[in-house]
Homo-oligomer: 464 residues x 4
Amino acid sequence: MLLETVESKGLAHLSYVLGDDNQGMCIVIDPRRDVSIYLDIARRNNCRITHIFETHIHADFVSGARELAAQSGAQIVGGVSDAYGFELHQAQDGETFSLGQLTIKVLATPGHTPEHISLLVSGGKGSHKPWAVFTGDTLFAGEVGRPDLLGAGSEQALARSLFHSLHDVLFQLGDEVEIYPAHGSGSPCGGSIGDRLTSTIGYERLNLPKAQIKDEDEFMSTVLADLPPAPLYYPRMKKINAQGATVLGCMRNLPPLDADRFDEARREGNTQIVDTREIEAFGGAHISGALNIALREEFPVWSGWMLRPDQKLLLVLTDEGDLDAVQRHLLRIGIENVVGFLRHGMRGWIEAGKPFETLPQTSVHTLKRQLDSGSGLKVLDVRQDGEWKAGHIQGATHIFVPELVEAPLPFAADEPVAVYCGSGYRASIAASVLQARGFQNVSTVPGSIKAWKGAGYELTKDGA
Amino acid sequence: MLLETVESKGLAHLSYVLGDDNQGMCIVIDPRRDVSIYLDIARRNNCRITHIFETHIHADFVSGARELAAQSGAQIVGGVSDAYGFELHQAQDGETFSLGQLTIKVLATPGHTPEHISLLVSGGKGSHKPWAVFTGDTLFAGEVGRPDLLGAGSEQALARSLFHSLHDVLFQLGDEVEIYPAHGSGSPCGGSIGDRLTSTIGYERLNLPKAQIKDEDEFMSTVLADLPPAPLYYPRMKKINAQGATVLGCMRNLPPLDADRFDEARREGNTQIVDTREIEAFGGAHISGALNIALREEFPVWSGWMLRPDQKLLLVLTDEGDLDAVQRHLLRIGIENVVGFLRHGMRGWIEAGKPFETLPQTSVHTLKRQLDSGSGLKVLDVRQDGEWKAGHIQGATHIFVPELVEAPLPFAADEPVAVYCGSGYRASIAASVLQARGFQNVSTVPGSIKAWKGAGYELTKDGA
Amino acid sequence: MLLETVESKGLAHLSYVLGDDNQGMCIVIDPRRDVSIYLDIARRNNCRITHIFETHIHADFVSGARELAAQSGAQIVGGVSDAYGFELHQAQDGETFSLGQLTIKVLATPGHTPEHISLLVSGGKGSHKPWAVFTGDTLFAGEVGRPDLLGAGSEQALARSLFHSLHDVLFQLGDEVEIYPAHGSGSPCGGSIGDRLTSTIGYERLNLPKAQIKDEDEFMSTVLADLPPAPLYYPRMKKINAQGATVLGCMRNLPPLDADRFDEARREGNTQIVDTREIEAFGGAHISGALNIALREEFPVWSGWMLRPDQKLLLVLTDEGDLDAVQRHLLRIGIENVVGFLRHGMRGWIEAGKPFETLPQTSVHTLKRQLDSGSGLKVLDVRQDGEWKAGHIQGATHIFVPELVEAPLPFAADEPVAVYCGSGYRASIAASVLQARGFQNVSTVPGSIKAWKGAGYELTKDGA
Amino acid sequence: MLLETVESKGLAHLSYVLGDDNQGMCIVIDPRRDVSIYLDIARRNNCRITHIFETHIHADFVSGARELAAQSGAQIVGGVSDAYGFELHQAQDGETFSLGQLTIKVLATPGHTPEHISLLVSGGKGSHKPWAVFTGDTLFAGEVGRPDLLGAGSEQALARSLFHSLHDVLFQLGDEVEIYPAHGSGSPCGGSIGDRLTSTIGYERLNLPKAQIKDEDEFMSTVLADLPPAPLYYPRMKKINAQGATVLGCMRNLPPLDADRFDEARREGNTQIVDTREIEAFGGAHISGALNIALREEFPVWSGWMLRPDQKLLLVLTDEGDLDAVQRHLLRIGIENVVGFLRHGMRGWIEAGKPFETLPQTSVHTLKRQLDSGSGLKVLDVRQDGEWKAGHIQGATHIFVPELVEAPLPFAADEPVAVYCGSGYRASIAASVLQARGFQNVSTVPGSIKAWKGAGYELTKDGA
């Protein structure tokens, strides 16, 4: 039997290749945009891809279903919905698909979205009874899917559907059935997903706190309470996926731009420099106006929050070897308009004699000293509302990162401002936005709350 | 959380890296001999390996525990046993180990072997209750571990222990707990393991046929009945693992030998040529005396059955690129005495004007015609006893492959003999043995029973 | 400085990336069809490709110039010719191009073709004087380019041009100048190219036998004498390259076809099975009608000779991992119409119970015995004319491989025929053609003349 | 024919695999310490390594000859010298070695060292006359080897030998012979090596300025004039290579150390933190006492200058993926005592709440303004003497980087000092040394002289 999990870090997205490798056929569930990995797995296992299942219309990334269908000739299968603007097979609740010795049964499990389906799998040597369910965004390890992301007043009805999908459908499958969800820890598609990639029906039925609420209304109010903000780019993803994403073919070749060409390109209208180096490197020296979104797990999510698909992007990389990863991450969230990257990175820029800016790095120890000494330093907390409420630095002001782009700011451009978040990552995004808006005296706090706690300093909930 | 499965195909062996990657520590469970993959996984996840767990003294491969300990500095942990001839921590039933946010609890689960332990895991975000058990060779997907491999009259007592380990220990953990076993389908460590790599306690408790037997004696007689033969190399592996395998360091560099050097080397005493090409290629042309064990999944198991660690081995490869895989496979079963490989393979040999032999390939259609026409062709079935009994070709003689090496044969050396097995793989091993023993008129039946059935011909159980 | 040689084995084709990596710009000279390697080299060296130079309109492979231009935005530069059917810069003799600190000077060097140019390079630290010339197919290590490939009566004029290009242009550059040609040993673009990849002007001026001929007419008659046959696919390549090859984008994904699908596909009209396994494996078992062109260095050249671009091709591979190499080789010679590959290769076919054929392998020793004993065996030599004349097996008949496809044959279909060539490679192609034409009693001689000589047997020139 | 160049960037070191791949044998010339690449090339080409040639006792890296001999069984060959403290074949001037169709002739070419040999190659298809000479450190593209590195008063005699090796030996080989040297541009083994990797005898005979000096004494005084300083670690390398480096086997596995373990380890005696991140990142935040040697081409040379083999090293990396490259670079210069690397790099350190330092980055524009305004800023030029003399910033003080470790400094510890070099790389090494010595007010000038010139500012030679 073939069962491989393809994890896209950053999006905390899980897709799957499931097949009967004795009979040479497989399916792909919830593929991401850059699809070569699925073709490689199929080839390596001597399988052809017969179907591509979309558990639902995704909101957090651009689906690779149409790309993969174009390259493999496989049939796309989804739930029933008028929203689909492209050709696919809309499977009914209870419909089954044969895959060699395996049987895939479609279960309608609305809740996260109305058209959501789960896939129940049985068959294979020693496994006649159902043994796994691919739950998409309905049920994760330790969390349920969010029913609020569609907006437009659909939250209540979807939350109610979710209650029934859990109790009347999924929890009826048997405690012994394994769960393969579409997301792991860190995805905003669930409130607080656990850090395992799989679970079982029994484990969630018995241990998932929201599953212990047997009253439908209480469940609804609980799942709709205290949710982190829905990323601003979700409606855009949703729309692309409903209409069907463009088929791309190969990854585009991007040229290195020397300092002069880069300098010229950045002066064109509607152009944004994205500096993907680590925050300390950005702090040491960067180009005026650059946005610092470091290439780590969080990169695609924060690129989704901060970048617009119509902008022309110019990249500053740690190393030209990072280009492929950066391009893929952006592609997965529908950002395709990259113009080029700076040749030899900041080193190339600086050695050409071009001017640069720094972003001072304030350690938590220095911050503490300055706050204790009443230095007049302003402190800005750029985390989500829930994090702020759970405890912050005394005296800080709270504005969530993406709001900094356009919101009026409670500081003067020449006031000293130290920006912090959970670990320093978002603080550097935020500080780079502030610098671009003309703040001349902004610093970032690397380590932020993690370092603050590590150093043994106190947090407060005052004024939260 | 870090949980990566390392599958060693051929041995159908599963080992695991489990860790708390937030806190940078991990363990390795049941490592194989070539350990660089574990070090790479640990490094990539910024973890150091703190412990290496051996669920039991393995009989089917050489453990990499000591190699990995030497390279990583980690502590080896096993069950309690006098059999261990090297330094390790012998963990008591119920002993726990902390691994960042995870807790590993040792459960004594004798049955496959007396010192066998399982590892119950709890902890991690959203997973406070136990969520997984690493069952080693006690319980697989769809099968239990064999209690007969230790021999020496221990079968009965171990089978009884196994009954209690299942019902009193593992099945008490909760239906929702996931099972991560040490073997998948194809391993002789279980009678007939299913083709999933994972399962759950509930799935096996409810569906595993042997688990439905609630009478202890009936269970014992069932698990000891109808077992496939224990590979002859198992006692050798067991002994190496009990004493602790030698630490190897790097893989040894092996030179290409040109036809003349190879020819010279094969004439030295106690030297065996192993031809790892596919059976059709071996059929087309091979060196006299060569044993054909094709490099596919089955390679390590059949190398274990057919090769002796004291022999000097000479390799004939499809391509020099196969050398690494062949070396690793042999290392894993304790075969280290490889002298070199034939430069440019058979092509190099033949172009030097050296003589070669062929092994005629008889199709099932030709075989059928010859049998129907009463041609006097002898037919030899070289499968295991259980396969033979389940149905064979009318008129065939049955001798299991490894017995051909020394057993007296019921054919004259000049009689025409067609050899078959399940798919042709073992038939080619067997036929190469017969040719080496001087049979001049032997042919192999590629496809064998698979092709015979595919062509729609009948099998019989007569005389089985 | 950046100077990387990209060697395409099989075609014995050499292409180059040359650049000033301090200033971040490079050119590509004579790119092959699958161009990702050039983009990777440029990226790794932080260079952008500014120009793509075609030394001439190639006849032996499909140029990647247009593909690379499409993916990199670089300008294509060639010599002056009306033959070009696409947009490119046609550079005059003496025209120069700046590439950072390097200067590229175009030299008209007609001979192999009329529009042929060479590129003289000077510049770089410590290298102000010209230090290298990229000679395309004008001058190789140990050989000159063939002036006969264009046909149509152009041989005489081109041979004369070649004489002047050598003596009046290239040999005037200075003995110290390094030569980087477009082909190495084995390419039919030169009569008998040496086995170094580079040389120097002085080395060839002093040592190349044809360069020692100072009489123009004697030179012309010598370079036009005793040339191996021009591959039949050369005019097709030439035409594609003159018109400009289609831009492909990504490599196409090809599916594994199980035995039934493959069987069905092979029965469609205008379909050819190509079996790329080694000759012994083909000998052991193959599908009726399959052509055996083994995947080795010779593969692209013999695919060029034996396959037609309008045929639908079905592949039988040693291993699905060979697919990429086979696809690339075919692409480079303009064969794009591959339908799919046989799942699990011959093993998959045979295990499905499908019929197969064998191609007996006759060793040179057996051949010798049979010839000596006057067995009536027919012997067929399928090498080129020049090889045949240099010495062959007594009593053999000579027909060059490609002629076997349609020529009337001097044997009856049931006569025993043993086929040989230089090493057995072409013999297996030829024998597979004969089997497809209905010859029932054909065998191949692996090792062929190499083995015959290795075994110490005699050759004759009688009747040559 | 097999001829592959293995380039070790940073050391600008060139080693070669040369062989007759038809006959399956090859040699390796001047191997580096991490030898797996040579074994891989040999295997891929179906060759065994018969000999390892050392052109001389290297001073700039640890030779891999003994390692490769241990792993391949090949024979080591060098020139004649009493200095060798291990077993090797000491070849006489004129001695020849057969390598299939190739012939290797040893030429005594003293000059860089007394025992230096060059290897003249002839043979191969179309190449009967000598076609290449492997010149080691005698003659490079555009430069001759330095005769001063051995010190101890040997310079004069070696310079004289070099004159004769050039004119009486190498230049007699013929202008058409290709040169394959042991170093490319950037190696301190030659004064100013050109940026090609190969050259020809004719090119150097005609164009190399020092080759134009026909007077022996003038030649001697010229080659001994104006040489850059010999790296301090050269005598150590020389000694290791004369005695024969230890055989290592595998690369050692190194663990990630979390912030607490790293913090503990750095407090042990004789321990040095090496921070291999780019200079801007080091500037943004680093651990107190760390030395910044960024992982780029220059890394091994500056590690050689700045590190001692008896020190225990702790690494701070950009990414754990850099570990392999850092380990290899250090191994090549005989630095083996690495203890571990910081888990998650600076991010891990900072998030644990540990204190960090910054190194302010002064742009050339700011520097210019401050100098013009008479701010009292001290400026330190840390380049080599020759660079300083060729032009520096007005008012700067000159101390070459390695001297900063122990020399008395002309600044007070609280004075503001801006450090520059050619590009900022060495300035950051120097500034990190100054910080470690207690200078509290030091900054670095990224881009340094390159940026200064790029910005259009003036240099002076005053006071040089």
